[in-house]
Amino acid sequence: GESVGLHLPTLSVQEGDNSIINCAYSNSASDYFIWYKQESGKGPQFIIDIRSNMDKRQGQRVTVLLNKTVKHLSLQIAATQPGDSAVYFCAENAFSGGYNKLIFGAGTRLAVHP
């Protein structure tokens, strides 16, 4: 029979509302986290980062929250705009064997409706 593909979770919001995208990470030793935005047909672009010695960091219209107790990361977008429609990835930095590697989550699609 037909195989079922993996589907991205989708968050649908109205233009002007606030968006919250969540991410669970795997390694309690990870010390650095990034949110990337990927628009259709483009590579991922950096949005905001946070180190493990912080629990909150703000940028322009975006805020990242880090809860190390439950290994959870969230991205908040204020006053969401149609241009925010994209796939959002969280990434954690794993340092092992002397090398830094970014490990990515599966992504969340944000759909902004007028």
Partner: protein, 115 residues
């Protein structure tokens, strides 16, 4: 601005062909990475390199090899392309920071179709 350039946006290759994906960065970054991206699976690391002529396996290296002869260039090689290697391939680069994480800068991606 940091620029990571992948040589092709779209490629169509036949099963069994040897395929080269090229990536060049202009920021003198030590680290370079190749990821593949498939729907619902996020970005999975194939190989990375932290210096010229150095390479390390990522999470899914089977069926791939890499070459880094110059600091600015990192090539991904599919020795004998198969249909399950149809995917989006993303190259990235970052500074060597000696342990502290730092952002990676991505190219625009190469969508490879193996028929």
């Amino acid at each position: 601005d940091v620029k990571v350039t992948q040589s092709s946006r779209y490629l169509v290759k036949r099963t069994g062909e040897k395929v080269f994906l090229e990536c060049v960065q202009d920021m003198d970054h030590e680290n370079m990475f190749w990821y593949r991206q498939d729907p619902g699976l996020g970005l999975r690391l194939i190989y990375f390199s932290y210096d010229v002529k150095m390479k390390e396996k990522g999470d899914i290296p089977e069926g791939y090899s890499v070459s880094r002869e110059k600091k600015e260039r990192f090539s991904l090689i599919l020795e004998s392309a198969s249909t399950n290697q149809t995917s989006m391939y993303l190259c990235a680069s970052s500074l060597w920071t000696g342990g502290a994480g730092t952002e990676a800068f991505f190219g625009q991606g190469t969508r490879l179709t193996v028929v």
